[in-house]
């Protein structure tokens, strides 16, 4: 794999990094929201 990006490295790496952070963050936020909702439902159903 070619990692020598020449003069463009200063643009390409941040672009990939920001994309990774944004997509990863979006995924984490979504999964966390799901887990939280499930936990709340489980707690409420236990009370029944």
């Amino acid at each position: 794999m070619n990692f020598d990006l020449g003069p463009y490295a200063a643009y390409i790496w941040p672009a990939y990094a920001i994309s990774a952070v944004a997509l990863g963050g979006m995924t984490a936020w979504t999964v966390l929201g799901w887990r939280r909702a499930k936990a709340r439902l489980a707690a409420l159903e236990k009370k029944e």
Binding site: M1, N2, L5, I12, A15, I18, A22, M26
Partner: protein, 235 residues
Amino acid sequence: MNWLFKYANPHNFMRLSNWLLPVCAVGAVLCLAVGLYFSFSAPPDYQQGATVLLLFIHVPADLMAMGAYVIIAVCSLMSVIWRHPLSDTAARAAAPLGAVFTFLGLVTGALWGKPMWGTYWVWDARLTSFLLLLFLYLGYMALWNAIEDETRAARACAILALISVVNIPIIKFSVDWWSTLHQGETIMAGKLAPVYLAPFFLMMAGYAFLFGALWMLRIRTFIVERRARTLMVSA
């Protein structure tokens, strides 16, 4: 149309997403991993050098940003015409995802613009209409959060989404018209060399699978939250 109404039932949707979600998740991971490998293995473009790498994350982000808004519009239409109960939830779930893709499209576009045109921001047709698309997303999400009554919020946002989607081609056209008024940078040729097709399609598929998986998960989350709320009320 009947199959659509089948999944209007939250229970059926949960069953569908039980298997479809993991498929999309795995698809996303595979496509992105292999796509990244192919992207960085591809030779640099003779004109653009290594910046062609930005194409592989910029265009998929752009396409997903627009696709998500189309999805919101379609769901809004289904909500308004057929009162499809899950479609409001589906539209609402897609919005933050689309907004993030729009943001990424803007950022990667700016970082591509600097080596290409010498400046981070250009008021060209694409970047400008994408900035406006971001505002559309933010306004849509803000309206959902601002109206307390959920049914009312759903109806209002459906109206907003349908009006905005009609305006999106108008925005695109007017900004295009305007940016050719102030002639500036050259427009990049659309032809993509075959050696770049594989990484591009893989990254595109990866982005799409990721959206699909997260979208379904968000819809599931809304369904579960609603169940929890009915339990709390009846308790």
